[in-house]
């Protein structure tokens, strides 16, 4: 290899998670020489598939693909890169201890109608309304958030566009959007529904992955956000080979566009020369020069660890330090000798997203513990059994259960080391209420607590969204004013991770928006 005096790369992307890879693709397509540096031994960040017990593999972080816009998947040609979906339009099943489980969208709603015709109708209404809201809000996710108080035409146009789309909802819908936008999801559900099981299932969507309970302010906003990302049609999918396959396809797309990707290349510092980014230095001491650095790491890691407070103003640093990023979500992986029996459900039924959230109050009580640094005694769970549709993940006849668990505090009273097994048992007992023989079929288990998630996926606080998804960290204040338009106060440094608008989940829009912003600025 030659060592040209000129920087070999125009842009370095720090972190090969899905946002970093999407960003690299679009930067490379924009004619830039791009290098992606990933600290782990494989790309993907928290969207990876890895072995957790001999012969058993699982999506170690996110376990469903549902937020990445189909247009983005098409545009990047992920199918051509080998992405296959093992299951699409997965139904959601709200589990009930009395086996009167409720099937929710999409699919057969006859059970819901039997349980409450009024709720079935109300659910139709609500989902139709949510879809209309989602269509109005979705374009916002694909834009650089407008600056308030700015006189630039682009900022004004974005604000006007948003206003116009909301106004176009019509008087009735617009009023409803403004009424519920800042509410807590508990109040919204009380207004519209009566079945506790239904309310629990809907509340789960509003709080999953967050540090919020159903009575926390802004939980309707997080529900709207989830709906807007999915454009109103919640299409849950299980990629063949787990979420890692999505990342592999994204990496393939980035390489095809001309980007280079290096794994086992942990960035130690972002280098600064004369108040401009000049490159990065790796943990090995290797220096790589580049005129721009785009970080998909979380804002706290990017600014406080990789860059350092001395290159930033104190007020900005304080805002970054105050970003709320305490994760409350854990992940449990179970290697199963046989498929567990869920009374009232067939094997076909289990090809679904299973929810343990019997009521909104159940979730709120589970959340109460976490407020005081305890784990939930009766946790809220989102369960998938990917091996029902994807045989590549486990030996023949065996199964993998992937469980997202709330709430597990980042700082647990007494520490996680001694209570890891206790919490694992709590989760298995909770599941046992719906699948009594589950415990006997478990061959191995793995629990990822927020500190584990912080360590493995390098996310400050172990928060899945890098920064809490709440009204005060949304849009033009995400992650903080002064870095909400993908640029940062330091010339040449950009953000492209989940800590930026429009946030986390395996969506990829933050990466694309950042790349577009960078290219636009350079033009």
């Amino acid at each position: 290899m030659s060592h040209p005096a000129r920087a070999a790369y125009d842009s370095i992307v720090v972190g090969g998670g899905h946002n970093g890879l999407v960003c690299a693709s679009y930067l490379a397509r924009g004619g830039r020489r791009v290098l992606v540096l990933e600290a782990a031994d494989r790309v993907g960040g928290a969207a990876i598939t890895r072995e957790f017990a001999a012969g058993f593999k699982v999506s170690a972080g996110a376990h469903l693909l549902h937020l990445m816009p189909p247009a983005l998947i098409r545009d990047l040609g992920l199918e051509a890169q080998g992405l296959r979906l093992a299951a699409q339009r997965l139904p959601t099943l709200a589990l009930a201890e009395d086996c009167r489980h409720l099937a929710l969208a999409p699919g057969d709603r006859s059970r819901l109608a039997q349980a409450s015709a009024a709720d079935a109708a109300a659910l139709e209404d609500w989902q139709a309304l949510l879809a209309r809201f989602a269509r109005a809000l979705h374009p916002l996710l694909s834009q650089t958030p407008p600056r308030l108080g700015s006189e630039a035409w682009r900022d004004r146009a974005a604000l006007l566009g948003l206003g116009w789309r909301i106004r176009r909802l019509g008087r009735k819908d617009m009023r409803e959007l403004l009424r519920v936008g800042g509410m807590c999801v508990h109040d919204l559900l009380e207004d519209r529904f009566s079945l506790p099981l239904l309310k629990g299932a809907l509340a789960l969507d509003a709080v999953l992955g967050t540090n919020l309970g159903p009575r926390s302010p802004g939980t309707v906003a997080s529900l709207l956000y989830r709906a807007a990302a999915a454009q109103g049609v919640e299409a849950l999918a299980l990629p063949q080979g787990g979420l890692g396959a999505v990342s592999e396809a994204l990496a393939g797309a980035a390489r095809a566009a001309g980007a280079q990707i290096r794994t086992n290349a942990a960035v130690e510092r972002i280098l600064v020369r004369e108040d401009r980014v000049s490159g990065v230095v790796l943990a090995t001491g290797e220096q790589i020069a580049a005129g721009t650095v785009v970080s998909s790491a979380d804002p706290k890691s990017t600014f406080l660890k990789l860059l350092g407070a001395e290159h930033l103003d104190a007020g900005f640093v304080r805002r970054v330090a105050q970003v709320r990023s305490r994760g409350l979500t854990a992940k449990l992986h179970l290697a199963l000798d046989r498929l567990p029996q869920f009374p009232g459900l067939t094997e076909q039924d289990l090809r679904a997203r299973l929810l343990v959230a019997p009521s909104a109050d159940y979730i709120e009580r589970a959340y109460n513990h976490a407020k005081y640094d305890e784990f939930s005694q009766h946790p809220m769970l989102e369960v998938t059994i990917p091996t029902l549709v994807d045989a590549t993940l486990a030996p023949a006849g065996r199964h993998v259960m992937s469980v997202i668990v709330q709430y597990a505090p980042y700082t647990l009273k007494g520490g996680w080391d001694t209570q890891r097994q206790t919490f694992t048992d709590r989760i298995i007992d909770t599941l046992g209420a719906y699948a009594p023989q589950l415990r006997g079929s478990i061959r191995a288990s793995e629990l990822l607590t927020p500190p584990d998630i912080e360590r493995e996926f390098r996310m400050s606080g172990g928060h899945w969204h890098h920064a809490e998804l709440a009204l005060d960290q949304f849009l033009m204040v995400r992650p903080v004013p002064g870095a909400a338009q993908y640029q940062t106060p330091l010339p040449g440094l950009y953000l492209c991770g989940a800590g930026c608008h429009p946030g986390g989940g395996v969506m990829g829009l933050a990466g694309r928006n950042a790349a577009r912003q960078l290219i636009r600025e350079a033009a």
């Binding site: 108040d275 406080l304 350092g308 407070a309 001395e310 290159h311 930033l312 103003d313 104190a314 007020g315 900005f316 640093v317 304080r318 330090a321 002064g482 106060p489």
Partner: protein, 405 residues
Amino acid sequence: MLTESEPHYRQPLLKTPFHERQRALSQLDSFVPWAGYTTVDVFTSVEQEYFAIRNASSLYDLTPMVKYRICGADALRFLNRLVTRDIRKVGPGKVAYTVWCDDAGHLIDDGTVFCIAPNEYRICTAERQLDWFRASAIGFDVQIREVTEELAALAVQGPTSARLLKAVGLAGVERLKPFEHGAFRMPRRAGGEILMMVSRTGFTGDLGYELWMAPQDAESVWDALMQEGRTRAVRPIGSKALNMARIEAGFVLPNLDFVSAAHTLYLGTERSPLELGLAWLVDFKKGHFTGRRALLAEQARGPRRQLVGLDVEGTKPAHNALLYTERSGKKEAGSVTSATWSPTCKRNLALAMLEAPYIGTGSSVWAEIYLNRELVWERRMVRAKVVERPFFAPARRRATPPADF
């Protein structure tokens, strides 16, 4: 001293270690609050006190000045990112006057940084800064402790101040250059010594020193200076006389010449160091500091307004006067922030914030002065000319060693 039992907001104003001595000499019993302490604004008469500053020596109690101890492995890096000057140039035994800004380049406060030892500093500020300092400390290995109550401070200012200090036994004080400090021992009358720090600093623009000592030594030091000063026309002074001297010296005061960006409520009332004419304090070459990018942009854009010195026609101080471009008073050009008749310069002086077109030396504006003549108000329009600051800068201010009166 704060007691443990009462929270500070339940307590009356604190008394400085010099309080009892000052109360005994305070003929007018005129005390004003300053940073949580009660302090004297006039002892006897402003003019007498003023002339002690300019013609003899004055004692001014500056204990309420807020003081922080900054130390730790990153103390220097922390300070250099906090303030606008390059603190790398301020070695042990040196002092620097500086300002600090928020992210927008707006002034938060000014103060003096004393380098005690490598990575050990004391910073004296007008207002409490713990919140901002702590925000600025994120990412730095530095300890910040307020030491206001642990130190008594006394300013000894005036042409005979070096002689006075030598007379009380502070040998070698005459060797201190401006903005230097050192440890000195003063013989205690009852035997033994009082250890103190003396710095050649001050707020009068004259020859002068500041003495920093333990609170329990405060009265002994005061007594020695007053005793020795009986034949030297030494006077304790209040803040009113000091204010006249500091305007002559062209120094700015928070809440008079600018409002800290930490306190402004209205947009646009914040001020940058460039606007205050303190560009000489801003070192763009030293590396990053808070507000640097904003100040660079402001510098590139050019000034919108600037604090200037005015020589005002007549003898009536132009307190709070609005300034106009024409005598007709139709178009405003700015306003006066501080004003005084200067007995030494024999000029009517003011500091004023002027809009950009009028800030050049020699340009002239009109001041609208309101006079209260036995409750009959008169309005006068007088000419005010932009002149160089400082208005008064005697050579003795910098002479080392100073003249030995």
